[in-house]
Amino acid sequence: MKTGETGILTTTIDKALEWGRSNSLWPLTFGLACCAIEMMAVQGSHFDISRFGSEIFRNSPRQSDLMIVSGTVTKKMAPRLKRLYDEMPYPKYVIAMGVCVIQGGPYVKGYSVVLGVDRVVPVDVFVPGCPPTPDALTYGIMTLQKKIRGETDR
């Protein structure tokens, strides 16, 4: 973006759209397990995700554009998760929160756990931890914002 001296902002439509999208990510209320409580804490007053424009947790997948998969995905839940993802309108993003979602976590030896949600839906940002602290999730969302804007992290 370039700012002219006369107070005129010139930009491309793509850049403006990316800027808008990245600052109004509406997550889907989709709590699966332990990490969901930390996701609630992110929404709460102490960490306050609304500073990054993501305070409105939507209950319907059709109104949201970010899915935070928080908690263990079991084989029984995976088809439902896929369906919810399909119901979300484009552009849509997925954050995998917690080691259970990334590769199975403490339940990796179990028979009923999907070893990584990236086998079901494409994932944009992985946030490790068991559960990740709210700070980590906030960082994950900021990383996703950078990704949407086409900036690199390093």
Binding site: N59, R80, P131
Partner: protein, 367 residues
């Protein structure tokens, strides 16, 4: 001829407290039949316990009732220490009581905030989470993590409680009752809240007992049953506290019982924090480096009072370093079974309100 409409609710639903799915049969807006379908969070924790050493099993118990993990640890260790014959020292027992009761407060605060959300009240949620955050800060200093603590271990606790942490807890206890009244007023001075909950979802004493319901729900129906009093574990017999009981058995009674329980927990922490004796916080018999060599034979069952109700752990040992079988009597699973009976012939909106008072945590129901 039936002209009931079948409706599916969940597993993704804002007021299903995780992944509960209900299959409803509706007559207009009135629910005629309810069938809870569970298993969406079945993580085979009981089976995994058999594959790990006794001391490692705490990991899976932490993740059962994830809002009150300290209470789960107490429950498991009551059984495991009985089986392995390792007695925790006096100091560790007092520290455990302090940690468990602080966690009970945190768990009830989460429930209170979520219950507000179920009924469309957003404000109490923020107030509850401010207070919960203060408790979690204490736990971070105590154990290192915010939610799944893995703090207690066989033969004591992982880390000693320091004078600094004791001061912090005292400070928290001093300011908390005032804040709690503030939160309670948000609910109890709200006419809509009262009229939506008074007289709704009444559970009779006999029904509650026959379904095996425990915890605050049973006490709200007029049965003064609490494992901390009936069969005191740790040092609960040396503490002075009451068991709140209500005869009404409706939604509001269950709310009031939990509110009163928070106050009693504050009272317990207040007493226990000054009484922590000096001495070792760890039994040398279960030295950390030798803990995986502990062997247990026989079978034990221990029950404790978690924030949801009676939490029972059954362990069978075959003389090896790993348990042969672990079974959990989870309170919320039993509590959930009464929902079809209670919420029958009510409106859908009332079903949500009734479900909200049950404090469902799916890590524990599905395990």
């Amino acid at each position: 001829m039936s002209n009931l409409v079948e409706l599916n609710m969940g597993p993704q639903h804002p007021s299903m407290h995780g992944v509960l799915r209900l299959r409803l049969k509706l007559d207009g807006e009135i629910v005629r039949e309810i069938e809870p379908i569970i298993g969406y969070l079945h993580r085979n924790a009981e089976k995994l316990c058999e594959m790990d050493y006794f001391c490692d099993n705490i990991v899976y118990f932490d993740r059962m009732d994830y809002v009150g993990a300290m209470n789960m640890e107490v429950g498991f260790l009551e059984a495991a220490e009985k089986l392995l014959g390792v007695e925790p020292p006096e100091r560790a027992q007092w520290i455990r009581v302090v940690a468990a009761e602080l966690n009970r407060i945190a768990a009830h605060l989460v429930w209170m905030g979520a219950f507000g959300l179920d009924l469309g009240m957003l404000t109490p949620f923020f107030y509850c989470f401010i207070e919960r955050e203060k408790i979690l800060n204490i736990f971070v200093e105590l154990s290192g993590t915010r939610q799944q603590y893995n703090y207690m271990s066989i033969g004591g606790v992982y880390q000693d409680i320091t004078p600094k942490i004791i001061e912090e807890i005292k400070e928290f206890i001093k300011q908390f009752p005032k804040k709690l009244e503030e939160i309670a007023n948000l609910f109890l001075k709200n006419d809509i809240f009262l009229s939506r909950n008074r007289g709704l979802g009444v559970i009779e004493k006999e029904t509650a007992i026959s379904y095996g319901v425990t915890g605050p729900i049973l006490r709200a129906s007029g049965v003064p049953y609490d494992v901390r009093k009936e069969e005191p574990y740790l040092v609960y017999d040396k503490l002075n506290f009451d068991i709140p009981v209500s005869q009404k058995g409706d939604n509001l009674a269950r709310f009031m019982i939990r509110l009163e329980e928070i106050r009693q927990s504050v009272k317990i922490v207040d007493q226990a924090i000054t009484k922590i004796p000096d001495g070792p916080y760890f039994n040398p018999k279960a030295k950390k480096s030798l803990m995986i060599r502990l062997r247990g034979e026989g079978e034990v069952y221990a029950r404790t009072e978690s924030s949801k109700g009676e939490f029972g752990v059954y362990i069978v040992g075959d003389g090896g370093v790993k348990p042969y079988r672990v079974h959990v009597r989870s309170p919320t699973f039993k509590n959930l079974s009464i929902i079809p009976a209670v919420a029958k012939d009510k409106m859908i909106a009332d079903l949500i309100a009734i479900l909200g008072t049950f404090d469902l945590v799916f890590g524990e129901i599905d395990r």
